[in-house]
Subunit: 138 residues, 2 copies
């Protein structure tokens, strides 16, 4: 995790308490938090941190490619710190739980040129939906 902080510093980031806290929150074992959840956890560590700062910082992390924005079908965007290993998502349609998954094959190669309509395709996002074991039990 501190390697993330190092990378950011190397990129000319000014290292503030707020940014450190946001990075720490994302690096925790809680994956796929919403911006609001990130804010809530950040406040726990640094009470005066503002919502705007959390949004800004998340946005910066995303554009630096350190964090991915994931939009499953919930209302809020979620942030995925696991940006350096390509992976897809498995979402519980009931409780909204998200797991990272690593399918075999490359969906990119499943899109023939005739289906690209002149687009320059650079990325694929795959979301599997289903019911998680917990919800299935209930």
């Amino acid at each position: 995790m501190s390697d993330l902080l190092e990378r950011l510093r190397g990129r000319g980031w000014r290292m503030t308490a707020q940014r450190r806290v946001v990075a720490e929150v994302l690096a925790g074992d809680h994956v796929h938090l919403t911006a609001d959840e990130v804010h809530a956890r950040a406040v726990a560590k640094l009470p005066e941190i503002s919502r705007a700062t959390v949004y800004n910082t998340l946005g910066e992390l995303v554009s630096l490619g350190e964090v991915l924005e994931v939009s499953t079908d919930k209302r809020a965007k979620r942030y995925d710190p696991n940006a350096h290993r390509p992976h897809h998502h498995l979402v519980c349609a009931q409780c909204g739980a998200i797991r990272d998954v690593h399918p075999t094959g490359n969906p990119m190669s499943d899109l023939p040129d005739s289906e690209r309509f002149g687009f320059t395709v650079s990325d694929v996002e795959v979301t599997y939906r289903g019911i998680c074991p917990n919800c299935a039990k209930a």
Copy 2:
């Protein structure tokens, strides 16, 4: 399209002017509208229709399986009337344009049991991202 109205009537829908208008809007050649766009077009045909009704109707159509909710990364959900033919989406990262595409292969079979974590997986959604010809030109 009138077949949609028939199907809905068959399911016990009360056929009101508002619902007809929403169905007509979705059936037009404008695919992937946001709820707000649907509302705007509906108002053009039936000035007094309220936002709440449009949201309600869209929600009902979705739970009846007549229309799909698509969340690309934009803020607003979009509604896809093409619910009866499985397909995926190609989104322009710049202007947000969306096209339906039909990849070869079935991503569902790319998810081994070991990667399902006990979920009952029922659905896959694939979103390709890139730059559309128009934006590439600009």
